[in-house]
Amino acid sequence: MGSEPQGLSSYSDRELVWRSQAGDTDAFGLLVTRHQDRIFNAVVRFCGNAEDAQDITQRAFVNAFRKIREFKGESAFTTWMYRIAFNQAVSFLRESRRQGLPAGSGSGMEPVDDRRPGDRIESEENRAKVQEALNRLSSDDRRIIILKELEDRSYDQIAEVLRVPVGTVRSRLFRARQALKQELKLVIGTSP
């Protein structure tokens, strides 16, 4: 599934969805390939843990395939996937809390950066603190911050993911930024 199946790469997401709805697992595999980085990144920032994020992302895609016939094409596949992934993440973290799992199993630690070991001086500490502040936000606030600041989604797209009016995105984003500012103050000790 990692490489694009021959002949499918020119298909749009919408076409791949049609084929997935008809049971074409290669088509769905290509949707996974196209969107896995984006979804994984959003999830890893949401749950703050790479290991859990991998599990959540896998479950989210499998769930998406299970529900693919429900996808009506009214929004982009990405938007639909964000929604599924965030819901999956919320359930996962709730379940982890209920089971009292220790740190490292969804407790919100900054994922280890194994790609650039030399680049971890001052900036890594800052990033870890930003992640910590994110982890302290409510799941609603975290979700909207991730969608806007990290995934660079428009208000319309955020509204689709969260299933709220665009006006609500404005107010929620304002509140989420205020909350993040406060949390950063607590974590770093200075105003951002």
Binding site: G29, Q54, E70, L150
Partner: protein, 318 residues
């Protein structure tokens, strides 16, 4: 901040999510409001800080487990024939559970009123519905649409159920052009409606008897496995010729795997019980299928074949 200017509007302005009039309104305000200017600067600082978090690419090990799982789901939910069934021809396929022969029944709208009962018998060795050169993957007969013969499984969805019961309209049957890999080149006309909200599945077991024996077996197996037997109702479907009945079992999706095992087990038992005489008749019939199909005008099948042709299992999703 006591200026009273809308914080939400200021946020939207920062994100470039305002219309022209809101933009003008905001810009007029911030020229004279140091609080709002400071707020905008804070937003920028915060945003830059968050955006410095590195993007994390998905691990290489992410995709394979997904692929495994969706293949399993697809193996149950869809079959090669199922693709056709669901998207292209919306046919009714009834599968005789046998290693080398298959019986397919298809009723065409145009012939629905006729007395003839469509039955086609596929020749031995043609049970693979693949499209290899020189092998006709389905058999046809006047008054019938394309018929399909799987495989190791069962298929049908809600639309076939209607079809078996004679409820499909001509327009629904309009065939969609397929690409080289056998998939529809455009979505079906009812694409929006095609999305099925139900996550449960439905099993149709079509037999030539009243279905009670099969139902009891399946129900017993499900119960022993602790699976819920949500609904089971033998109902007459098909034609007088086939005298088929079915029963439905609705189960949560996550129990598909267990259910499949149960059905496979039952299918194996049925296969063993198919008598040699019946198989022989079907083989002979199959060899002459093309010619014989044209004569399928209601001539009764031998009793042995009637018994054999009833041994079918269909797994249906809706």
């Amino acid at each position: 901040m006591g200026c009273g200017f809308s914080r939400e509007l200021l946020t939207a302005y920062f994100d470039g999510e305002v219309d022209a009039s809101e933009r003008a309104q905001t810009e007029r305000h911030i020229t004279s409001c140091s609080d709002c200017l400071r707020e905008l600067a804070d937003m920028k600082s915060l945003s830059m800080r968050v955006r410095r978090l590195e993007r994390r690419p998905a691990p290489v090990s992410l995709a394979e487990p997904i692929a495994r799982e969706i293949r399993l789901i697809a193996a149950i939910r869809f079959t090669r024939a199922g693709r056709w069934a669901q998207w292209a021809v919306s046919m009714a396929a009834v599968v005789l559970v046998s290693a080398s022969v298959a019986v397919v029944v298809r009723r065409h709208a145009a012939s629905r009123e006729s007395a003839g009962v469509p039955v086609a018998v596929e020749a031995p060795g043609r049970s693979d519905p693949g499209t290899s050169e020189g092998v006709q993957p389905w058999v046809t007969a006047p008054g019938f649409d394309r018929m399909y013969t799987p495989f190791d499984g069962w298929l049908l969805d809600g639309r076939e159920r209607n079809d078996v019961e004679g409820g499909e309209s001509e327009s629904e049957r309009e065939e969609t052009p397929l690409d080289s890999s056998g998939f529809p080149t455009r979505p079906p006309a009812d694409f929006e409606a095609a999305a099925d909200k139900s996550e449960s599945l439905e099993v149709w077991i079509v037999t030539s008897d009243d279905g009670r024996g099969m139902r009891a077996k399946i129900e017993d197996r499900l119960k022993r496995r602790g699976l819920p037997f949500v609904k089971g109702s033998p109902t007459l479907v098909g034609s007088d010729y086939v005298r088929s009945r079915y029963l439905e079992v609705e189960l949560p999706e996550d129990e598909l795997r267990l259910l499949r095992e149960e059905i496979l087990h039952e299918a194996a038992a049925l296969e063993q019980s198919t008598s040699e005489a019946e198989a022989k008749w079907l083989r002979e019939r199959g060899e002459r299928a093309t010619a014989d199909e044209k004569k399928l005008d209601g001539t009764p099948l031998p009793e042995s074949a009637r018994r054999a042709s009833g041994r079918r299992i269909i797994l249906a999703f809706r």
